[in-house]
């Protein structure tokens, strides 16, 4: 009961259930960035991520009445997001789709024009491409675990709750994912180090 009172989102949901639609606008405002970015990092497609985020909020809107505050509201939101992302991937069978990074997506990935020189900008975009390629090469569940851990900073226990498995299983998922990521990314930073050393007099 204390846990419910401490979660401000729970009171918003209660207000929404009791008929105040504006409460849902607040929920939307609080969580749209989170949902969108989880979906984007998982799917690597801005349009699809936007679609997923819309679906997630529609699901929350429809099933707000069934929400039981056993866990934090944010965990519930992550859970719905994870399910929608995995379903999307399953439906579209794009797990092995090779992603091409066009200018639009590179811009989405957070390049801040004006902060870098053209060569730095190019190097940074190249790095981001390598990182996202590496992420896309992971199996769906490992990728999701990495996104939730590395980008959202969730604990193993929270990830376990979202993915519906034990913390030990999350540990093993992340171990495998980290091993693969290190393998995929190592050649890149070894080459980069070598080229940097070569540049030095």
């Amino acid at each position: 009961m204390e846990k419910q009172a401490a979660d401000p989102d729970y009171s918003l949901i209660r207000e929404f259930i009791s008929g105040r639609e504006e409460a849902f606008s607040e929920i939307l405002g609080r969580y749209k960035n989170l949902v969108l970015n989880v979906a984007y990092r998982f799917l690597r497609d801005r349009t699809e991520a936007e679609d997923v985020a819309q679906d997630v909020f529609l699901k929350i809107y429809r099933s707000a009445r069934t929400y039981e505050p056993k866990a934090k509201f944010s965990t519930w939101v992550y859970k719905i997001t994870a399910n929608v992302c995995l379903n999307r991937l399953r439906n579209e069978k794009n797990a092995v789709k090779s992603v091409s990074y066009d200018g639009q997506n590179s811009a989405d990935m957070g390049s801040s024009p004006g902060c870098f020189s053209p060569s730095e900008e190019h190097e940074r975009n190249e790095r981001l491409t390598v990182v996202h390629d590496a992420l896309q090469r992971l199996p769906a569940n490992q990728r999701l675990a990495i996104v939730l851990k590395r980008y959202e900073g969730l604990s193993y226990r929270e990830i376990a709750e979202i993915l519906g498995c034990s913390p030990a299983a999350v540990d093993s998922l992340l171990q495998r994912a980290n091993g693969k990521l290190k393998k995929f990314l190592e050649p890149y930073f070894v080459d980069r180090d070598a080229s940097r050393k070569g540049r030095k007099p």
Binding site: S25, L28, G29, K32, N33, L36, N37, Y40, R41, R46, A49, E50, A53, Q54, F57, L58, Y61, R62, D108, M109, G110, R124, R127, L128, V130, V131, H132, L135, I146, K149, R150, Y151, S155, Y156, D171, L174, Q175, N178, L181, K182, L185, E186, Y188, F189
Partner: protein, 169 residues
């Protein structure tokens, strides 16, 4: 040492995430102090993570909220066009099953009525049993005399005849 290093390296991501029990954490740190291979592994892992962290966030489109509320309105319209009151609570498969059963019952009833109507004049036209034997014995009429069917009709006719004779008395 190699086996131990492999075990330690498996735990390095959890070490960086501070998800290990304190005892194990200090044991791994002690090993890292003396093992350059595992230190290299640790450095490589944290560099891979640094690379991952470079991917920054995207912002939702300006019309994200408006688009969402449009979808909510569509959803509400589709919800109001659904049956209301008690019918909304009855699941569609239950309605379908009830309709199916009603169809079978109705069909059975109609079939029975039609069958009775057809059979009524026929019962009048049915020939009375020959020699007190049921009319289906006619089925065996065309059987050759030495066949099983022929033998059966011969026996039946005989006993029917005697029955009739007995009845005449």
């Amino acid at each position: 040492m190699i086996g131990k290093c492999r075990r330690i390296q498996k735990r390095i991501p959890a070490l960086l995430d501070a998800e290990l029990p304190p005892k194990m954490m200090s044991a791994i740190k002690r090993h890292l102090d003396i093992c350059p291979d595992c230190r290299r592994y640790l450095a490589a892992t944290s560099r891979a993570w640094d690379l991952l962290a470079e991917s920054e966030k995207i912002a939702p489109r300006n019309d994200f909220d408006a688009l969402f509320w449009d979808k909510v309105r569509e959803f509400s319209i589709s919800r109001t066009s659904r049956p209301s009151g008690i019918w909304a609570r009855v699941p569609i498969p239950a309605i379908a099953a009830a309709g199916f059963l009603l169809g079978i019952a109705g069909g059975f009833f109609l079939g029975k009525v039609a069958f009775t109507d057809k059979q009524a004049p026929a019962t009048q036209a049915v020939r009375p049993p020959i020699n007190g034997i049921l009319p289906y014995l006619d089925t065996f009429a065309d059987f050759p005399e030495d066949s099983v069917g022929g033998a059966y009709i011969a026996v039946a006719t005989q006993s029917g005849g005697s029955a009739r004779r007995g009845g005449d008395k």
